[in-house]
């Protein structure tokens, strides 16, 4: 009778092995995976966005028709769906700075362009932002820069926010710089910035302090005119 037990055991083992072999060859699989129906392909792939008409955009911005056309062609070429999400934005911006890591600064830029904070930039946002930067008055440009620095959009630039921005700018330089970027360089730069901007020494920079100081600084005023004829 011991032999019969052995037999049964052997039978059991062989049957299990056999099923394992069959599963290996893919014959038994449909039985086990019958439940998962693959409906993951049912997701709709693209969300498309069409911009507003050319006339409306012309009214909202200071670009001519031809400029808007040329801008849209470039925009659509990179983003056929009409929307730029943050990842695409970061990858595009990083291509201009091959030596460093531009992703953090691109993140801040993205938030500055994405006016309605929905996670994607439409062509309208893009063009409106560009219009301010290239054709706006000095005050508008300074306003835009303040908006960029003010990460949480509360109307005040704190030292932490400025430090984050400064670090992201230094990140864009990359490793191979002369002289080497020391770890204290961003914070020293931030201190200098606050020394210049923070009039009442309250630790934050408000929009008025910012605009006032910038308008008094010749270098900054000159550099604001720099990108006039970009398009």
């Amino acid at each position: 009778m011991g032999i019969q037990d052995m037999e049964l055991l052997a039978i059991g083992v062989v049957v299990i092995l056999f099923m394992a072999v069959l599963k290996q060859f893919g014959i038994l699989e449909p039985i086990s995976s019958f439940e998962d129906s693959s409906d993951s392909d049912l997701e709709l792939s693209t969300v498309r966005h069409q911009p507003e008409g050319l006339d409306q955009l012309q009214a909202q911005t200071k670009f001519t028709r031809k400029e808007l056309q040329s801008l849209y062609r470039g925009f659509k070429n990179e983003c056929p769906s009409g929307l730029v999400d943050e990842e695409t934005f970061k990858s595009i911006y990083s291509q201009f700075f091959p030596q460093g890591d531009a992703s953090t600064y691109a993140h801040f830029l993205f938030n500055a362009f994405d006016l309605d904070r929905n996670g994607s930039i439409r062509f309208e946002d893009f063009v409106i932002g560009l219009s301010v930067l290239l054709r706006g008055s000095v005050t508008e440009k300074l306003n835009w820069a303040f908006n960029l620095y003010d990460i949480n959009k509360d109307g005040y630039i704190t030292k932490e926010e400025m430090l984050a921005i400064m670090k992201s700018i230094y990140d864009m330089m990359g490793r191979y710089t002369y002289p080497c970027v020391r770890d204290e360089a961003p914070s020293e730069h931030v201190d200098k910035f606050f020394q210049k901007m923070d009039r009442n020494r309250d630790g934050v920079v408000t929009i008025e302090e910012f605009i006032e100081t910038c308008q008094k600084d010749e270098n900054i005023m000159n550099s604001m005119q720099l990108f006039e004829n970009v398009i």
């Binding site: 500055a112 560009l130 930067l133 710089t177 970027v181």
Partner: protein, 644 residues
């Protein structure tokens, strides 16, 4: 910078306004667009078919024919279009490359015509997208093989001035080159056959005298067989020695498979000669005679198919290994099961598990000799499962081996893979180089741009008078060498440098200066740039002792020693290595890189870099000066003049 995002450059430049309030230094001057023109549609007439595209689209790749001023040669004034007398179908792919940034290879196109078109338009085939690259490479390899085969057929014409040894080797390798070789080929083939047949017939029982038992022919006609054997072995020995003599690389020949087979085929005879009378080793001697059958492998020199079979088996080692492994696994399992199943039955042949191995093997390979059969019901059930699974296990790896054989029969696989790996590495290196080219291009033109600034900023009188002459030349040269897009991009990077008060440098320079760290302190800057602060240069230092000497020698530019000798030589080597990767062709051959600058690899280039260092006014550039790849010859002239 990928050409596709060139359209976003205005955006990136506009976003640079974010750096302005933080910057402490004044920003550099923006490049002006000298002939600013609206983007227009240009017409490309290719053999009558008109293609239209924006001018900006073509300007994305300034290294190609359509992106550079070379297309002006094809401009037709009357019809105001560019006329190219080329294939319009292939031109579609070329133009799509400009539009999308990806080059595709159409499958219906002939590989050589496609290559010609690409070469005409100055596009490097290596940038074919991954989707089409495999196909392109395969077709190219087939084409190359075909060409090689054609060449080999022509090569068989007798080359003059071959030594006797070379002639002999060629005769051995290609029997149809001369009649003597052919004769030799057939004679050896005949003797191999004779030898093999002799070995076989030796063991056949010949007719015998009625009173004696049957003896094999070998023992009956000992002398005859011995003579036959001797003759064959002598022929084989002579052949082997002749091959050994003729082989170009004797050591390699001796290690080759065929030569080992030759040796193994003739050795038993000689060993047998040596120890005929020793009784103890006669058993071993008999075993050695088995090796005589290896003579049959000598036929593989005469048969291409046999060689391929051997090669296939070698290359299918993994499939064969899998077959063996799975078989072994199955044999052990089933043998165990059968043993235990049949243990109960009386007079069972399944005495032990190893004894059951024989049954399992015979059943799984569906031989079924019938010398061992299960008697119990359980045994019969498992026996049938065993034979069914045997069919499965054996049938599966066999088609793989078969397909391997057929594939190898049609092409020589292994050598091509090795060649392809080299090409693949080169391709990736080139693509990587072009991506790195954008940053090095910036460092290039930074030096050019700053050089221009230096000429403007300087106030030394003699430089003034000379700079007026040279700066116009300089400007012309600069205007020619960098496109507007590039100059704008470089201006952007320059703004970033000014914002953070640090500069982009070459990786190599960075590493070298980092390694040298702590040599000397940063020398004081000139007053015109004293507004820069916060630069102490602690972690990396300049080799300023090298910089001080050029200032002394500023009066002798023509004979300036290359003071930064090790580094520039290193750079020279670096350039050599980078250019080595690229084929030595025209400036078109790189994607976006400016090859006209690093092209002149002469010793004078090292002098150029030190000459730049000698300009005292912008010390900012001086550490960069020797970090960059040298400039073109026209720069050389300018440098010499102004460094007086």
């Amino acid at each position: 910078m990928a050409a596709g995002v060139a359209a976003w450059l205005p955006f990136a430049r506009a976003a640079a306004i974010g750096w302005m309030p933080v910057a402490n230094l004044p920003m550099p001057v923006a490049p002006t667009e000298k002939n600013k023109r609206q983007d227009e549609v240009i017409i490309l007439n290719v053999s009558g078919r008109r293609f239209q595209t924006w001018r900006n689209t073509l300007d994305r790749y300034p290294d190609t024919l359509l992106g550079s001023s070379e297309k002006e040669f094809f401009y037709n004034e009357e019809t105001k279009e560019y006329f190219f007398d080329r294939d319009p179908d292939v031109f579609r792919s070329v133009l799509n490359f400009y539009r999308t940034g990806k080059l595709h290879y159409p499958r219906y196109e002939c590989i050589s015509s496609y290559d010609e078109e690409l070469a005409f338009f100055g596009i490097v085939p290596e940038i074919i997208g991954d989707c089409c690259y495999e196909e392109y490479k395969d077709r190219k390899r087939e084409n190359a093989e075909r060409l090689m085969d054609d060449q080999e057929d022509n090569k068989d014409a007798k080359l003059p001035n071959m030594t006797f040894r070379e002639t002999m080797w060629r005769a051995f390798e290609n029997p149809h080159t001369s009649t003597m070789a052919l004769v030799f080929y057939y004679v050896t083939g005949f003797f191999i056959a004779v030898s093999v047949i002799t070995n076989v017939v030796e063991t056949v029982p010949c007719g015998s005298a009625p009173n004696q038992k049957e003896v094999p022919c070998g023992e009956r006609y000992t002398v005859a067989f011995f003579c036959m054997d001797t003759a064959c072995v002598m022929i084989f020995t002579v052949e082997y020695l002749m091959r050994l003599f003729a082989a170009p690389n004797r050591y390699r020949f001796m290690r080759s498979v065929m030569s080992i087979i030759d040796v193994v085929a003739i050795l038993p005879y000689y060993i047998g000669l040596v120890m005929t009378d020793n009784e103890d080793v006669s058993g071993a001697f008999v075993t050695l005679r088995v090796f005589r059958v290896f003579r049959i492998f000598k036929f593989s020199r005469h048969s291409q198919g046999l060689r391929i079979l051997g090669y296939t088996l070698k290359s299918c080692a993994s499939e064969l290994g899998f077959l063996l492994f799975s078989l072994t696994m199955a044999i052990i399992i089933f043998a165990t099961v059968m043993f235990y199943a049949e243990k109960g039955s009386s007079s069972s042949k399944f005495t032990s598990i190893p004894a059951s191995f024989w049954y399992t093997i015979v059943t799984m390979t569906t031989l079924g000799y019938g010398d061992m059969v299960p008697k119990t019901i359980a045994g019969k059930i498992f026996g049938s499962i065993c034979s069914l699974s045997g069919v499965l296990v054996i049938a599966l790896p066999v088609p793989v081996i078969v397909s391997n054989f057929s594939r190898i029969y049609h092409q020589n696989q292994r050598a091509d893979k090795r060649r392809a790996q080299k090409v693949q590495k080169a391709r990736l290196a080139r693509i990587r180089l072009s991506k790195a080219g954008s940053s090095s291009a910036f460092l290039h033109s930074k030096r050019n741009g700053l050089f221009n600034e230096a000429l403007e900023l300087t106030q030394l009188p003699y430089k003034m008078s000379l700079s007026e002459q040279s700066s116009t030349k300089e400007e012309q040269h600069l205007g020619k060498s960098s496109s507007l897009l590039e100059s704008q991009h470089h201006h952007l990077l320059h703004c970033l440098e000014k914002t953070t008060n640090h500069e982009f440098v070459d990786e190599q320079y960075y590493q070298q200066s980092y390694l040298e760290g702590g040599l000397q302190n940063y020398p004081p800057r000139s007053p015109s740039l004293s507004s820069q602060d916060g630069v102490t240069g602690t972690c990396c230092s300049r080799r300023s002792k090298k910089h001080n000497t050029p200032l002394r020698n500023a009066s002798a530019p023509a004979h300036m020693q290359p003071l930064t000798h090790p580094q520039t030589h290193h750079h020279g080597l670096q350039e050599l290595s980078t250019i080595h990767i690229q084929p030595l062709s025209t400036s078109r051959s790189s994607l976006n890189m400016r090859i006209d600058e690093p092209a002149p690899l002469n010793c004078q280039s090292s002098q150029i870099t030190t000459a730049i260092i000698s300009i005292p006014t912008p010390p900012v550039t001086t550490p960069e000066g020797d970090a960059h790849l040298p400039t073109g010859p026209s720069h050389q002239n300018v440098v010499k003049v102004s460094a007086l």
